[in-house]
Symmetry: none
Subunit: 135 residues, 4 copies
């Protein structure tokens, strides 16, 4: 049985992991956010049709619909009846700094507990950021 499905389309690269604790719709939403951050999905880009992506990822239509709805509520994409969803300009309400740090802290703490040094962690982060569109 396959537990990780990957879809490569139009140079896109989305993955869902059924073992992951995060709900699938959230994995999809975050995956799309990552693609936007990487500049592989830019303003005006069309997203795959709900049913298409669902079939490609081997998940239910509603799961993808939920992911798209979440992105739409955050203003990252526009969803209109009868039309493909399109990527909006990359704007995201900027939470305050303490929220950002709160989001960051647990992941970093866990990294630190694996024995990585600060500079190693910084290196990892920098490497990851390098994959994203310059800004």
């Amino acid at each position: 049985m396959v537990y990780v499905n990957t879809i490569h389309m139009k140079a896109l690269f989305l993955t869902v992991d059924h073992e992951d604790r995060r709900p699938i719709y959230q994995q999809v939403a975050e995956g799309i956010k990552a693609l936007m951050a990487q500049g592989r999905l830019t303003e005006g880009s069309e997203l795959p049709a709900v049913r298409q992506l669902a079939a490609d990822l081997g998940v239910n239509l509603n799961t993808i619909a939920t992911a798209y709805r979440e992105l739409a509520e955050e203003g990252l994409i526009y969803v209109r009846h009868g039309l493909r969803a399109v990527v909006a300009g990359r704007t995201l309400a900027q939470p305050n700094r303490s929220d950002l740090r709160k989001r960051l802290r647990p992941a970093l703490a866990e990294l630190a507990l694996t024995g990585l040094s600060r500079s190693q962690i910084l290196g990892l982060v920098a490497e990851e950021l390098r994959g994203m569109a310059k800004k």
Copy 2:
């Protein structure tokens, strides 16, 4: 009605946020990991009693028990009947690099989408790491 509870004990500082989508037991476990990474909980430190912490945070007793169980399973604390849980040495099975990056990516992508530049994000990360014990 208070929906964010914070507990300050023995110079500890734990917070649960009911608005947060992560389960509370996980927030507690991660909070404790963060305290360990910061060196505020070191090998041999006693953790608060389950009932105590539950009462202080205003959450269910089982929730704390689950958090401690998770930490124990990861080998980060020792739990023995009738005794307070104590912090083990900081060891944590080191996941492979791709797992770490997978954990990091969504948070970083979301930060990037708020319009922060790479260097600003790196600054945030460094600042956060500075709060943790050197290694």
Copy 3:
């Protein structure tokens, strides 16, 4: 990208809002009803051609056609092949009182929940009615 389109023609003022959850054809139909209620479209007035209005509002031709069809079914306009649609006398089957109230209630409740007082809400309603033709 423009997601709200407005058309000003013959002193008309029609708007479609793609963020709105109501279907566009319904927004158009209701907009025309509002214009009729305001007396800006009176018996015998010609409506814009379907193609023209569709182009001006940046929506699909079928969307406008559906709106006109709905208005025609309610007897508010006449549509004849090859001719512009024309406004009929303002007659509309009068729904019963409980239906009217049912229609009104959700909007008013939501207004009340924003903290507006009764008199403030009444003021808003009166102001809105003042904009409509006396009857």
Copy 4:
């Protein structure tokens, strides 16, 4: 076949109408908003369990879950895993005046087209408001 289901519980009075064009989850959400506006659901009140309400209204669990989620996103109720949903203080982000009027206009225009006079409409509105909690 029954097309309108009503549930009367704890002095609550919720109705879903399958003929109505609005989605059921929205009818439920608006019905609850109306109950809050009427002061029949006040801060701290527990809402019926998702499954309970679904059974009582004869609709699917997910439909009610969606309604509750919407209310939670608007900050009108708090939903926490394992606990009943509870009503928050009645706060609702106050949209600007023009938005409020936009919401009001179509309903009023339609009323005007049924031949009701301004004062009759104002009377209807006042009557409806009288049913709501004083503010």
